[in-house]
Subunit: 588 residues, 2 copies
Amino acid sequence: MNPKRYLPILQWLPGYGRRTLGSDLLAAVIVTIMLIPQSLAYAMLAGLPPEVGLYASIAPLVIYAIFGTSRTLAVGPVAVVSLMTAAAVGQVAPQGTPEYLGAALVLALMSGLILTLMGVARLGFLANFLSHPVISGFITATGLIIAAGQLKHVLGVEAAGHNLLELGASLAASLGGVNAPTLAIGVSVLAFLYAARRWLKGGLVKLGVPARPADMLTKAAPILAVAVTTLATWWLGLDELGVAVVGEVPAGLPPLTLPGVELQLWRELFMAALLISVIGFVESVSVGQTLAAKRRQRIDPDQELVGLGTSNIAASFTGGMPVTGGFARSVVNFDAGAETPAAGAFTAVGIGAAALLLTPLIAYLPIATLAATIIVAVLSLVDLAAIRRTWGYSRCDAAAMLVTIAVTLVSGVESGILAGVVLSLALHLYYTSRPHSAVVGRVPGTEHFRNVQRHQVETDERLAILRVDESLYFANARYLEDTVMALAARQPSLQHIVLACQAVNVIDASALESLEVICARLKDAGVSLHLAEVKGPVMDRLQHTAFCHELTGRVFLSTFDAWRSLHGAESGMGARCGQPVGTPIKPI
Amino acid sequence: MNPKRYLPILQWLPGYGRRTLGSDLLAAVIVTIMLIPQSLAYAMLAGLPPEVGLYASIAPLVIYAIFGTSRTLAVGPVAVVSLMTAAAVGQVAPQGTPEYLGAALVLALMSGLILTLMGVARLGFLANFLSHPVISGFITATGLIIAAGQLKHVLGVEAAGHNLLELGASLAASLGGVNAPTLAIGVSVLAFLYAARRWLKGGLVKLGVPARPADMLTKAAPILAVAVTTLATWWLGLDELGVAVVGEVPAGLPPLTLPGVELQLWRELFMAALLISVIGFVESVSVGQTLAAKRRQRIDPDQELVGLGTSNIAASFTGGMPVTGGFARSVVNFDAGAETPAAGAFTAVGIGAAALLLTPLIAYLPIATLAATIIVAVLSLVDLAAIRRTWGYSRCDAAAMLVTIAVTLVSGVESGILAGVVLSLALHLYYTSRPHSAVVGRVPGTEHFRNVQRHQVETDERLAILRVDESLYFANARYLEDTVMALAARQPSLQHIVLACQAVNVIDASALESLEVICARLKDAGVSLHLAEVKGPVMDRLQHTAFCHELTGRVFLSTFDAWRSLHGAESGMGARCGQPVGTPIKPI
């Protein structure tokens, strides 16, 4: 057992030096500035008090620095996971109650345990079953729901709902009560953030600021919006005109919390915890891999599960909420020059200082400002062009994407992601249950065999060669039976069928039985069955089976060998029945 | 639209002649004699009055003759479906009540509708997802449960339970109350039927009876057991000594019945109806295909769904129970010389006559006799040797089989089949999520490339050729990323990676994105990515994608072309970046 594998901190801490410290500290300062408004905003999105977002950005970052394998991933509350948290916790407790807060802690703990166990059991591959179109569709739909959900804060009205239909209806019903000062703040911040994202960096570069600092300043725009609108609200007394503000936030370091252990609550939250874990992991690991590759580093997906899992467990014991690696902040961390996870630990110190010192200052922070930062952030995740791009490449993938988007928008996040996964698996199984195969003939004068429908090739009316282009397993075994029997029924003069197996990596027990059935049925019909180009490992397993002894024909090394032996040969199956079968062939 | 396809009766009825009539009538007489005790027994197994089994063997047979595509399949109540019926209906109503009877009708109707709809939607392929080991394990486990469940009738005690544990405990608790005359009848019939199955045919053949009639007589042994034990019970008044008998059975043709339409009941029975449909269909279609192939006929699985579906609907409106094509009786029908589905219609007439005329005679039929016929029939389905055989061939298939058997025995039929299906799909997906691939090198002096780990081949430290042995889709896309990036990380002098795609039938949208990611990451690392041997249809789709334009390398016709161009070439990626990409290649 290699301790460096399970404690990745040992890989970088011993060689930690002053130069690295400098880079990491700078990155930490920049990420801290970016993370403060994000933490507050995503806590609000999850329906939790703002300080919970800060708490979730302290202990988890330190723990990730110990157990995580990405050098530059920045962990904390993120938009999609916060929305999923709100949807899950909202079903077991009303917002604003201690039960709601407690359920969020339980959700973080469960998600942490699930992730850690998956990591220990090396189940990281499970995330592969979320196809890219499903993830992309899910994130687009989630972004739209989040943006729609924040509109009420920008308008200063009451509205509720976990999907677009509910939100739309609720918003429409309450449009009469729009609060003008709130709307003014919300729209100004939206416009400012949009403009900053669009033009600030270019403008600064034109003014002579180098590209990287210009980029950093652009990313710090939200903190400027927070400062200005908070000051304005306090100065003008806008809260007395109906502008909702964050209000009193307790100053101090994260409290020690003990998540509840009621079995009923755990059972109700299990499915949500599982989905949050998987979605969070997929989002985090793809960011981590992208950044690692830029420096020719590697991350270990199974250890990443442990890193994220322990971070969530830490969050649950320090008054936090479910966390994962965020895209935008990790890129900022990377660009700012972070070299080791120590940057994350330093960020935690920065957020801790903010929780201690800055909280009294944000009492007058308008909720509309936070809502506007969320809207701008999540709308950048919405990628409607991906729908058209995917449609152009593959109808099947586009269908999975559209169903994910539609179900997520109409029925909510959990149903959406489940529908996408189930549909993409079903479509995949559907297509592999109809394996590619082609009747091939000889390209005249060569040893090559090509599809008879696409090429001018030699054929033989007593001999059919079927190239099987896929591994044979239970879902396509019966289809192979149909294909072969149809071939035999179509060609009454047929005496030999050769299955060319160069693309067959595996023949499972069902397919083996199908081959036995095919062989027996062909025998009844007076046709012998041969195999060609069987791969080494496949042949090793076939050699000890009844099929190999009952095979009416032979096993040929190559398709051409089969052609040479059977083409023009006079006798039918009888003459070859007794010949040695299962000729040992070289593994490929 | 071809009416012959949707009404297969049109294929054979117009040409129906006197000779065929003779064959069909003879087969019908033999199947009727065999079917009478079976119908009574399977109705009892399903917890229904005995006449229900007869009713289910009348209308469904006539309807199957119109819509079914197998010439020789014999439809009616079968053991596995009857057990599943008992398990499902027992959960919504107590046995012996009108509600129980009503629920069985609803189950037949739902199963009929599901099968018919699946047929119309051409969803016959769904049955392929039941792998052979799962079916085999399920039937073995079901056979054991059925046999254990009938033991109480042979012993003359009370016992209940839907799985082996419950049944065993219940039987053990009631062993004190064994009824001696019942036990005597049960054991005698068991011994007689076992002996008949084992030795009767051989004995008759030795006495000079031709093989086929000897076989028919053997299959008629149960009716002899029924006749003798009924007479004995009546003569000796055994029913007054505690031998349970069938009792009064109303004489008459099937009643017209209207299945209930309460939404709640339908919802509760839906899952069971779905499983009964699929299991019944798979059992029926495999018998049908085996028999059809013997005469070089074909059956159409989708139309079979319609045939079985309409039969079940007919059963539900004529006081019946869920039915499907049975193995033993179809073989008897075939062997007796049935040539068209008219034989089934004639059998229906025979059973109808029995329902009208014979029912008064079976009042004294001992239940122990029926139980013994069930036990002997289902134990022939139990195939424990299959476990060892499958284990020897594939651990993965054996695991699916063992889990199906274990869960079915311990927790019941529905959980068992679901566990088997889910596990076999999960294992399949797990294995395809780690696609076969191999780094290949050139066999010296040839154009062939083989696995570097198995063969002495030429390699090049600046060039790695990776042969991908499977289609690329979402579940294995990330694994490909890992494989390629690990290859690049391992070989620092690498300048070119070639993916040899001769086994890649499909690249889905997720895999395309992975290829883009791989290409970009390799570019960052100064390595260019090339493709070789891309199949025609795959290349057609790739040609219009961004990937094709961003590809840092080229697309080669063959692996050897790639080797010839890149081996020994001095420059890295730079020189080739601008070259034309996506060279049109011939489809394979």
